[in-house]
Symmetry: D2
Subunit: 298 residues, 4 copies
């Protein structure tokens, strides 16, 4: 399996009454189908998976599967705190026809979670999962990260085919790519370092920002693929700025507002996440207008 290019971590839209707006979600996917995105991640951190019920999650999995254009790789977020529940979710994702399970590190009992714990957890999950597993390290949310030694130990497992590393630490990309099997895919989660990650050996990226600016993210990948380093860097510089203003400073609320500006359905996040202030909206509006002159007036 090739896991290359740019994947958006899809957001979850809500109706005014707070329920999941499943039609809006479908419309977003349909529109993404027209881009060169390589596939979709459903129920990731950006999808507010920790704020959804099990039934809501299954609806989203089902609809994304139905709506995705042929050839789009489908990745389901399946990580739970317990090993058994994680395995159950991987099986469910397989039942829904997903290609890959994205398994974030357990993190609540972090004082107890030594590298050994993660190695056993991921091996158990990979042994039992009907579909291949991507490790998922996202320290900004979990407070824990997978380091090169344990990633490399796990990269030997035949059903562990890669990692989404959202730490932004490019040295880790270098170290993992140097020693992992060729079939192990490193994907960065940092929209500000897509191009540096690719030159360091990453195969692609899974990005929140790609839900609002998919073409901008894909272009970096394509420039790099074509060997156009100067173009890739110039594009990366713009995307890094956008990533800081939209996602780093404003989180999911900022991302959803940028989606609204670009003609997708973003809306507001679920509580306790708060909607954006007007001041923050103006900053994002200004940035998106400069970056995508036509879109922001849509």
């Amino acid at each position: 399996m090739e896991i290359t290019g740019i994947f958006p971590a899809l957001t979850t839209p809500y109706r005014e009454d707070g329920a999941v707006a499943i039609e809006r979600f479908k419309e977003n996917v349909t529109r993404y189908n027209k881009t060169n995105l390589s596939g979709y991640v459903v129920l990731g951190s950006t999808g507010e998976s920790v704020l959804l019920s099990s039934a809501e999650g299954e609806d989203l999995l089902a609809v994304a599967k139905q709506s995705a254009a042929p050839g789009k790789l489908l990745i389901a977020g399946t990580g739970a705190e317990s090993t058994a529940e994680t395995i159950a979710r991987c099986k469910r994702a397989a039942d829904f026809g997903y290609d890959l399970a994205l398994v974030k590190t357990p993190y609540y009992y972090k004082p107890a979670y030594k590298a050994e714990v993660y190695i056993r957890h991921y091996r158990s999950v990979a042994d039992a999962s009907p579909i291949p597993v991507l490790l998922y390290s996202v320290p900004i949310f979990t407070g824990v990260s997978l380091d090169a030694p344990e990633i490399l130990a796990l990269a030997q497992h035949p059903n562990i085919v890669g990692i989404k590393d959202s730490s932004g630490v490019i040295q880790r990309v270098v170290e993992v790519v140097a020693k992992a099997p060729q079939t192990f895919h490193v994907l960065t989660g940092g929209a500000g370092v897509i191009y540096p990650a690719l030159v360091a050996g990453a195969k692609g990226a899974i990005l929140a920002l790609a839900s609002a600016l998919p073409e901008r993210c894909v272009t970096i990948y394509e420039s790099w693929k074509a060997g156009c380093h100067a173009e890739a860097l110039a594009q990366q510089q713009q995307v890094a700025q956008a990533s800081r203003t939209i996602a780093s400073e404003n989180g999911i609320a900022g991302l959803k507002y940028a989606m609204d500006l670009r003609g997708y359905f973003g809306g507001v996040p679920r509580l306790p996440l708060l909607p954006l202030s007007d001041e923050k909206k103006q900053q994002i509006h200004k940035l998106v207008t400069e970056l995508e002159p036509l879109a922001a007036t849509a």
Copy 2:
């Protein structure tokens, strides 16, 4: 309502096949009934609540309610990442006859969780909860903490009656007690600082360690209550050492092993948490034997 004295954060026992051993749980509660513990916390961090299914949680709530002796205060852990789910769990706890809801801070989207977010979240929860709310700040697991200004803002809410603060920061106890209404109860989560917290104005403690050494913890409270400061400190010194060896260094696995040594049913935690090594078991055995000469040979 008086929320004073020592409350154990109850552990969740498992059968060999991994299911919840609900009979063992009942036996533990029945035995705790004979101590001077003031009540019980069900579905806390120590109870591995993040590793349990919703149905398992309800079973535990029901059985603890049935088994608790009259006069024991019943506290249910009800914190979830989403505000709506937290409220739903508070209502469920009320339906099960619980006296109080212990609501840990949401923590996943920590870059977005400013003090304002917590204030709105807790006010919404307290407005909707049929039973009074205890705030719960446990930075060692969540990576976030509530500080005095937001605690004091929330202490004004009529349905927020206290906080379990597991940070171990005694200055916060001093600051909160100084300015909160008399009816706001500060409970420490640190077995190593029960006595300092009490002198600083705390009303009691919710402790993992009290599942293994309830009498030891209660004695500190009673000595302090009786004005016997020298005794309280001497007892605190022993409990602080026990807390380090059993809980700080070995987590839930260590606590459960100490419970086994003391005649309760501890068992092993659920994966990904690993059982204790033999070396660690020996360290805990040595400590418990010195501390409780009769019990450890039971």
Copy 3:
């Protein structure tokens, strides 16, 4: 040697041209002599020791020694990054007639500074120092802290007579006092936890805040000493609030401004530390006026 009660960490006053205002320093000490402070710390963190030249430091040591009333214990900050330079400074402090050397942890090469490094460092310093050594752990500035095991190992050394622990972690006071020799003195560096530290077994405190509010800090000690727990707590509550507003939120600049309000010479800190904004000054003025009605109008 008895090291008990309250010690201010003296500030360093500057003239308008930026030089050390040695006369002002002398006047401050002379005025402190009239209080029940147990002695003085010269060249501590609060004294901006890292911003002073070696010659400036020697002047301050000399003048404090000359000005201190009989019976006031004199403590010199002597910690440097290198072991040899630390020893040289201890010898210099002894030459100036100081009673104790306060030796902060080296901290620059923190990834290399394991407990073993600190144990060897402090033993070398204590072996060579002509005067007894106080360990000094101040994680807020250094990013490193001494934990109970290494403190207890060092407490066995005949020339290491105590620790100033500015972490505010009261559990560590409990643990160290429980196992250290009776002659080992734990002093807290946290003005917000003087009373909890004393009940946990500390012998006193070394405090920045005591440079501005010496009587307030001493009173807590005396109330505790007299067994008046309720008074000690009430006094502690006020001092904790003052400590937050003056020192925690505004650092040395805040402390110096509070000194000015109370009739000492505070002035401004040395660059890169910036003077206080007017808004911050007003907050401190309000607090000091409420706390010390007469003094703040002096």
Copy 4:
């Protein structure tokens, strides 16, 4: 001024009696002269500057200046905690004929050091320094870091010509290069990310590892310069592994031992830094032997 390519942060050798071995230092520089290193950094973190006396520092500055081959850029570490002392050291470096002053962030009073403090500090230093200034952000040692907004504000100053950023955060390289004047030079301090930093727009690197493996580091730069991306990545992978084993895991002691293996004079660091254990020596010997088959048997 062009500040490009690879610069080693020179180590400080000691005699058996602990004094600086100035002749050994000279021999090292003389040997580095034969490589394609672009210049030398004297009195950096790797040079144990915080463990040296002022006189020792001046000797090293003088000898490096005398020994450096023509065309080698000379950079002096001049950062001190106080603004005035930093300026004095910049002037001293200029007197010794140095081309650039490398000014690390003040860091002791980190709670008080907001971005505004750093901006004022660096502007004052740059205004007064007779030679151009390089900012220096090294969070692993200082616990603080300069972020893009303040770097970009300072990049406007005519006498601030670049930054050594040792954070390893490549997104910051992207962001700074995107908006800073063309004449502002970003240099990475991370041997594991030389190549990713270069593609992100960095002009070169200042590296501890280049004291032991100068050719290996220079080759990456030259491959990238020649547009040979595949070679650059392959070389970077080896250097990243060497950087982890030698420097990240073993610090200055590890680096110095690797220097010994490669025919330079490394020796041991100054106390409190400890010499390497035999086990660690063997790990480094194995790595260097594999990487530099001839050298390690020298």
